[in-house]
């Protein structure tokens, strides 16, 4: 097999965001001395994406401050503003949108995700409608917020809440619409949703839970929306925060399995190797970050064996394992437990595990006046996650308990090797 034995060869990383950068960094830290090429769709070096919906929108952080530092010894070639369009696994060859071709010995799938577009009904006016995923998106939204026009946020997930928070911080009037009766319902359940809804009301957001956008107002320029409850919302700008899906169109036809959850992410094993259509792990390729769906300890009973989480921590936690796998080395012993965070409406929400899988939430601290919350999430008799608001100190104990489950994944995967 042609591979990355020792320190030579060529690695191509598709994706120049956090996941790609961290994977490339880990390859160097593990002694890889060959060529590393990173292909990035956006015409810029890696930057910190979470800040796009928070400090960058409020002006607390500048674009320059938002660049991710590059290790001085990374020695990488950057192909920016270029998109991967096709993969030939047998020939180990990647095709780019400009017609060029890159041969590789090792490939890192780190192409991330893109914002879900408006699914209908109708189509929103071209001017004043915003998605938020890239720095370019954030610049557009920043301009709109600067004009002070009323903002319509569509979506009740983390991104929607963060954008609403930033807009309120700037004194912009905000209406937030979402279908579920509570925000964050899918990700964190009704207890957390109710707690956040309370903080949102205090922040002065005009919330319209349980409603859908039936259509937008305005011809070419956004003027607002008509909701399913028959009301009209006036707005000069709208943010569609409807989730993300993996940017994996370039892998179509390559024979790699994609997640059954609609995320379009590449299914991979514990060592970050993607699975082929027949379920066998593929050598010479690893998948990291938002483009990857990873195994977890709670599959079965209606829960798919692989989940695309899209957390920042995934990109960081999996980099070293991915590098070790590509280089044929033993990976480290540190167990990664998923974690995510969101700062919204004065609440520092911090979470570990997989709250989305819970069928039951236990409340340990619920103090709306101080903005403090501590809940644990359970599925059957198992602990599957925990979340705190302004109470991070309580999280480590839950993480320690979850580690046992996650370290067992090593053994689950063992039969694939």
């Amino acid at each position: 097999m042609r591979g990355l034995q020792g320190a030579s060869g060529a690695v191509v990383v598709v994706g120049a965001g956090l996941a790609g950068l961290r994977a490339a960094t880990a390859l160097r830290e593990r002694g890889f001395g060959g060529r590393i090429t990173l292909v990035g769709e956006e015409p810029r070096l890696p930057y910190d994406r979470p800040a796009l919906s928070k400090d960058l929108l409020t002006g607390r952080r500048t674009e320059a401050e938002n660049a991710l530092p590059l290790p001085p010894d990374l020695d990488a070639r950057w192909l920016l503003g270029r998109t991967a369009v096709g993969l030939d696994r047998t020939a180990r060859r990647l095709a780019l949108d400009d017609g060029s071709v890159l041969d590789y010995d090792g490939l890192v799938i780190a192409s991330g995700a893109s914002a879900a577009p408006w699914p209908g009904p109708g189509s929103p006016p071209a001017a004043g409608t915003h998605l938020l995923r890239s720095l370019q998106d954030a610049r557009g939204l920043l301009l709109a917020l600067g004009h002070g026009v009323p903002l319509l946020v569509v979506g009740g997930g983390f991104l929607g809440g963060e954008v609403a928070t930033a807009a309120r911080t700037l004194g912009v009037a905000v209406t937030q619409v979402h279908r579920a009766p509570l925000p964050l319902a899918r990700a964190a359940g009704p207890v957390v949703g109710g707690f956040v809804a309370g903080a949102r009301a205090l922040a002065g957001v005009d919330a319209r839970p349980g409603a859908a956008v039936e259509g937008f107002l305005g011809g070419r320029v956004m003027e607002g929306a008509v909701l399913s409850d028959g009301t009209r919302v006036a707005a000069g700008a709208a943010v569609l925060a409807l989730g993300a899906r993996a940017a994996t169109a370039w892998l179509r036809g390559s024979g790699l399995r994609s997640a059954p959850d609609g995320s379009r992410a590449v299914v991979c094993d514990h060592r970050r190797r993607p699975l082929a259509d027949d379920g066998a792990p593929v050598d010479g390729i690893v998948a990291v970050g938002d483009a990857a769906a990873s195994p977890h300890p709670y599959s079965g009973d209606g829960v798919p064996a692989h989940l695309a989480l899209g957390h920042w921590s995934e990109a960081v936690d999996h980099a070293d394992t991915a590098a070790a796998t590509l280089l044929g080395q033993e990976s480290g012993t540190e167990t990664a437990v998923p974690s995510f965070w969101s700062d919204q409406f004065g609440l520092r929400l911090r979470s570990v595990g997989l709250p989305r899988l819970a069928d039951r939430t236990e409340v340990h601290d619920h103090d709306a006046a101080r903005g403090r919350l501590e809940v644990s999430f359970h599925r059957g008799d198992r602990l599957v996650g925990a979340l705190t608001a302004n109470r991070t100190s309580r999280l480590a104990a839950y993480r320690d308990r979850l580690r046992e489950d996650w370290s067992g994944l090593d053994r689950v995967d063992a039969h694939h090797r």
Partner: protein, 65 residues
Amino acid sequence: MRVRVDRASCENHGQCVFAAPGVFSFDDDEELLYEEAPGPGQGEAVARAVRSCPVRAITVEGGRG
């Protein structure tokens, strides 16, 4: 090895406490406490903490040893 946390950047993500519990911890008022000069045995855990801090608030001076 000297560890420093930029308090202005820190947002209590707690990732450093997960990565290096022997160096970083929280008190009951959610204040981050940390060893400014941890022992050589903590080098790898501190490096993990630096890597996992979402706001890059942790800096380390001097060798790992």
